[in-house]
């Protein structure tokens, strides 16, 4: 027995020892990994987001940069605060940019976005030199607003290929807004108290504010506090209320007029007339949007009223740092330097709140000398001060420009976002890429710093249980535009502050900029599975490509794989596991030798279904095909993928190339649509041999239809047409001709003696300039007024007649043949056209069930217009539809 016990004890000891060893092993592995991660973090963080930085590198060289289509470098204009960009410029020069030739610098950042926009425009014109080359733009910090202003508002929009915005301003991340508001609210309480002590006749109701706090206090006192009292009496504590989640909602419903005037529709546009430089460049000032930013302060005044009600009438005490739970957070901050930054910010907040005693206590928590902490002027942390000034404390004092900066920034952010959204293609509103206006929309690349310290320090304010990693969603919402398929948004982690200049000092950011100037992440070249000689028969390939939400990924099919007429079919399978709320979006660009680019969308039956498209035939004139994909938010959801926390997903692609006979015009043959319809639809078109994989031209395609929603063509109607003329006679007068039918007009104007430059611009339906004509007019001094006539012509849409010849009544189960013919005239100035028909000049449809169905065909006309000063290419797609009544057969065959 005792021997057994001894043995048992030894066994126990041995087992215990093994368990301890295993545990130590596991800890060692994890600890090592953690140490590695920590060291990477300490080394400056890692750049998140998909794609590679730096482009291709050879040895120690830094490749990247941008060669234009003709081989020359694409000019680059940099606009940013004075003294910024030093290291970046060195990097650009080592990549081949030459100062003054293809690298121009505009000093901005003064807050006057309109003036800065004028400077940017001038720099771009200088960079363009004699031709219409597009340029690249790098805009740093607030200068991003000026860059966007220049691109969209100036009378002759500057042609930009890529706009890289480094730390552009947003409307203030939530925490920054919160801090700012918190600081202001306590400050205005003092004003409010003073107002209350004034005799009734001396209380201003709507003063010209010299100080923001005074403005808030005055508006709160005179307008919003009585309404807050009503809100609580009539809604929050009444026996029938409780319908509104907050005061602003109640205000919007119950005080519609006030809300509309003071908040929703507040007006006080920037004083454009104080920007003379703008007047020189633009004959007319930019359109003034109706919603302004004084509303920003009206909302804050409403907030102040709510705060005053709680603070003064309910005698709730002021918010303190202790309420924010900051003490606990500060002790968890990682490094001493960051702690000091946070402490500095918060101490300034405490100072603003009037809680100096708390600030002193805070310094004791940190163990830092109280005098050093409270001596803000001597604080040697410019980044903290910059951030504090920009985000935490509003522009103080009586200087209007300080407040004006905030107003202008918010104004532009709201206004220009909407205008850009209306004029640019978005992921929700995609269409043909090439327009008569010339170059396609520019690509926007946003490089934003992720400054986690502020979020980590204010968990209570952000409302999260744990500190948030970043506030990417707020940044995107407030900073950028609706995401377009070519846009990229990259968050740089480990940034010491929100100061954009500090970002430019980082090697990884410099490499990233070079990479984006070179076109972004390189497309993945497609290689056929089997090596086949060029142009000889069908090839297939499949593989995987990473897809993310913050930037596109591309596959590239080069022209040597597309030689000769043929059809390219692309199918993409989304990953089996995808993040909720995100769907895969895919598209293709077919770049032709004539410089046009056609865009084709890949469709699927549902969020989880494969996306596919028959890209059509290329007739041998295709330079390359790019297939792009990325994740986008599902409709109705404002979601943004945080590239730092979500891993990219693998998308499986299958690409098939089927040569066609070259007989006849470049017409689309069959169209297989494996992605359309619900399960159960046997819509694998291409029966009869013209679909993918058959390798030879055969009978026309047959489209099987089960559901009414089944489409016989996936092309979308799109036309580029002249919409209006904008005339500027050069003497301060102008006119608009809004009749789209006036493509050939003559306009006259009478001039007084002097020299003038008259311009006429033809604007298309998207607001882009199709053609601009200028005339110089000279009327001698001392002479009579001169009446001058100007003749202006622009593109006229071709007259297209489409006929679908086929049965109006049919039966189920039997193919019905349809023939499509298109007559297209030759408009003035056109010097070449190609016509393609989808699903084909001849096709069949088989219905599986009776009903009334729609048969549609798309005719795509590619037109070239030659004007004296330039050529214009247009791709118009017309859709013709017929209805077919399908009856069930009486007996089966």
């Amino acid at each position: 027995m005792s021997g057994w016990l001894r043995a048992f004890r030894w066994r126990r000891l041995v087992s215990l020892a093994c368990a301890v060893m295993v545990a130590l092993e596991v800890l060692a592995v994890n600890g090592g990994a953690a140490a590695l991660a920590g060291s990477r973090e300490d080394a400056g963080g890692e750049r998140t987001g998909g794609g590679r930085a730096g482009g291709e590198r050879a040895g120690g060289e830094r490749a990247g940069g941008s060669a234009g289509p003709g081989g020359g470098r694409v000019p680059l204009v940099y606009v940013g605060p004075e003294g910024s960009g030093g290291r970046l410029f060195e990097c650009l020069r080592s990549s081949g940019y030459a100062d003054g030739r293809d690298l121009l610098v505009v000093v901005g950042g003064e807050g006057d976005y309109v003036l800065e926009a004028a400077d940017v425009t001038a720099a771009v014109r200088q960079a363009q030199a004699a031709d219409d080359t597009r340029v690249d733009l790098i805009a740093v910090g607030p200068s991003s607003l000026a860059a966007r202003l220049a691109m969209l508002v100036m009378e002759a929009p500057i042609p930009v290929r890529t706009l890289i915005m480094v730390a552009p301003p947003n409307r203030g991340s939530f925490a920054a807004t919160a801090l700012r508001l918190a600081a202001q609210l306590e400050r205005q309480v003092a004003f409010r108290t003073a107002l209350g002590r004034l005799p009734a006749g001396e209380r201003p109701s709507d003063p010209e504010p010299l100080d923001e706090a005074a403005y808030l206090a005055t508006r709160a006192y005179s307008v919003y506090e009585p309404l807050v009292a009503r809100y609580y009496r009539d809604d929050k504590f009444s026996s029938e209320g409780g319908n509104y989640p907050d005061f602003l909602s109640w205000l919007a419903h119950k005080e519609k007029e006030l809300f509309g005037q003071a908040i929703a529709g507040a007006q006080a546009p920037p004083a454009i007339d104080r920007y003379p430089a703008l007047a020189e460049l633009a004959r007319r000032p930019p359109e003034i949007d109706e919603s302004l930013t004084r509303a920003f302060f009206e909302v804050e005044a409403a907030r102040a009223a709510e705060y005053n009600f709680a603070r003064l009438f309910q005698e709730k005490r002021p918010l303190t740092l202790k309420d924010l739970g900051l003490t606990e957070v500060l002790t968890k901050a990682k490094s001493g330097g960051l702690k000091r930054l946070v402490v500095d910010l918060l101490t300034r907040l405490a100072e603003s709140l009037g809680a100096r005693a708390l600030a002193e206590r805070l310094s004791q928590v940190e163990g830092l000398a109280a005098t050093k902490l409270l001596d803000f002027d001597a604080w040697a942390a410019p980044a903290a001060r910059l951030t504090a000034e920009e985000y935490v404390l509003p522009p103080a004092g009586g200087a209007a420009p300080g407040r004006g900066e905030v107003i202008l920034a918010n104004y532009f952010l709201k206004f220009w976002n909407e205008r850009e959204a209306a004029r640019r293609l978005t992921l929700e509103n995609l269409g043909d890429f090439a327009t008569a206006a010339g170059p396609p929309d520019p690509r926007y690349v946003t490089i934003a710093p992720n400054w986690p310290n502020l979020w980590a320090a204010l968990p209570a304010l952000t409302g999260a249980v744990k500190p948030l990693a970043n506030d990417l969603r707020t940044e995107l919402r407030s900073m950028s535009l609706p995401v377009r398929e070519n846009d990229s948004f990259i968050v740089v982690r480990g940034a010491p502050s929100a100061d954009p200049a500090s970002l430019l000092e980082r090697r990884d950011v410099q490499d990233l900029i070079l990479s984006e100037l070179g076109g972004g992440a390189r497309p993945k070249p497609v290689r056929p599975r089997d090596k086949v000689p060029a142009g000889a028969g069908t090839w297939k390939t499949e593989g995987k490509l990473e897809a993310v939400a913050n930037r596109p990924s591309y596959l590239e099919v080069q022209s040597d794989l597309l030689s000769g007429p043929g059809r390219l079919v692309v199918e993409l399978s989304p990953p089996s596991r995808r993040e909720p709320g995100l769907v895969l979006a895919a598209w293709a660009y077919a770049e032709s030798d004539d410089g046009t680019t056609e865009r084709i969308e890949l469709n699927g039956a549902g969020p989880a279904s494969p996306l596919s498209a028959d890209l059509g035939s290329f007739g041998g004139a295709c330079r390359r095909v790019l297939v792009g994909l990325r994740f986008k938010a599902e409709p109705g959801l404002e979601r943004v993928l945080d590239p730092g926390t979500k891993a990219p997903a693998q998308v499986v692609y299958r690409i098939t190339w089927v040569p066609e006979s070259a007989a006849g015009p470049a017409s689309d043959g069959g169209r297989g649509d494996p992605g359309d319809g619900a399960p159960g639809d046997s819509d694998t078109g291409g029966e009869g041999g013209n679909g993918p994989g058959t390798g030879k031209a055969g009978p026309p395609p047959t489209i099987a239809v089960i559901r009414r929603s089944k489409k016989t063509t996936h092309r979308v109607a799109r036309r580029t047409v002249h919409q209006k003329w904008e005339w500027d006679f050069g003497d301060g007068t102008g006119a608009e001709d809004l009749d789209p039918a006036h493509t050939d007009v003559t306009r006259s104007h009478t001039y007084a003696p002097g020299k003038y430059t008259a311009t006429a611009r033809s604007i298309n339906e998207a607001g882009a300039v199709i053609r601009q004509l200028t005339w110089e007019v000279t009327v001698p001094e001392g002479g009579d007024a001169l009446r001058r006539e100007f003749k202006a012509e622009t593109i006229r849409e071709p007259r297209v007649k489409i006929v679908i010849d086929g049965p109006k009544m049919w039966v189920t189960g039997k193919p019905a043949e349809f023939r499509v013919s298109a007559e297209v005239d030759d408009p003035p100035f056109s010097d070449g056209k190609t016509v393609s028909i989808d699903p084909g000049p001849v096709f069949s449809v088989v219905w599986a069930r009776p009903g009334t169905f729609e048969v549609a065909a798309a005719v795509t006309v590619r037109l070239s217009y030659r004007f004296p000063e330039r050529s214009v290419f247009v791709i118009d797609t017309y859709i013709e539809k017929v209805q077919v009544q399908v009856c069930a057969t009486a007996a089966t065959e």
Partner: protein, 269 residues
């Protein structure tokens, strides 16, 4: 005696092994129950539609009730308006949608009624929940602890004793036409769709009084607010039949929040 045969040849039992077997049996039952529950949830999850719909996109209907408590003295500090996290569940009456900030807030499966519970102090949510009523009668303790201390952090900022609502609230039955029969403080009444039940508690010099809707309500309420006296209001409203397809995941921020005011993250992601 061995472990698996706890009873000896003479029928005597081994108490120790029997206890172990009992324990293992309980553990096994718990594991099986957990697996079954998880499977049920998984099935329910699979059947949920994709996209922004939070509920199953079918016609499964439920009665939507709201229980809203409003206080004035629970929060001791004046929270900056707009700073505090907003509610995670809101009713968009204009578009007839129940908006939830996160899909995880939506109860799984089917339920006879859904109760949106919210306790707030000057628009700052103190407690919130979306509660599924699967069996009737259903009881809810209005004075239940909201875990304020744990959630709002500093004790100095809150005074839970200033929440005056009291009593169990019971949902006794639901009629076919959508009327809800409720009981509170000894009162039983029927709320038809669109109707509500309200009570006001006021701490009148240490004595808590309950006020019913009427002339006295407004006078007592205004006096209490003016005098900084603790007051709590309860409203139970019947919003009628809704379907699970009318629940969406989205931004619960106020629809009139100006776009230039950054929206707070709700719940973190």
């Amino acid at each position: 005696m061995s472990f698996w045969f706890p009873y000896g040849p003479n029928g005597e039992g081994d108490p120790r092994s029997a206890a172990v077997r009992r324990t293992l049996a309980v553990v096994a039952v718990v594991i099986v129950a957990a697996v079954c529950l998880a499977a049920a949830w998984a099935v329910a999850a699979l059947s949920e539609g994709a996209g922004c719909r939070a509920g199953r996109p079918d016609s499964a209907r439920f009665l939507l009730l709201t229980i809203t408590e409003t206080d004035n003295r629970v929060l001791q500090a004046a929270i900056v308006p707009g700073l505090a996290p907003g509610p995670e569940v809101t009713i968009d009456a204009d578009r007839r949608r129940l908006v939830v900030a996160r899909r995880g807030l939506v109860p799984r499966g089917r339920y006879r009624a859904l109760v949106r519970y919210l306790a707030e102090d000057f628009d700052v949510p103190l407690g919130e929940g979306l509660l599924a009523v699967r069996r009737l009668p259903w009881r809810f303790d209005l004075g239940r602890s909201l875990g304020l201390s744990r959630r709002l952090g500093d004790l100095g900022s809150i005074d839970p004793s200033k929440r005056l609502v009291s009593g169990p609230l019971a949902l006794l039955s639901i009629e076919a036409a959508g009327a809800a029969v409720i009981e509170h403080l000894g009162n039983q009444l029927t709320l038809r769709p669109g109707e509500s039940y309200a009570r006001l508690w006021v701490n009148d010099g240490g004595t808590v009084r309950v006020i019913e809707p009427g002339d006295e309500w407004r006078r007592v309420m205004e006096e209490a607010l003016a005098g900084r006296v603790p007051v709590s209001r309860l409203i139970v409203a019947n919003h009628g039949w809704w379907t699970q397809g009318e629940m969406v995941v989205g931004d619960t921020a106020s629809p009139v929040r100006p776009c230039f005011m950054a929206s707070p993250s709700s719940g973190g992601e």
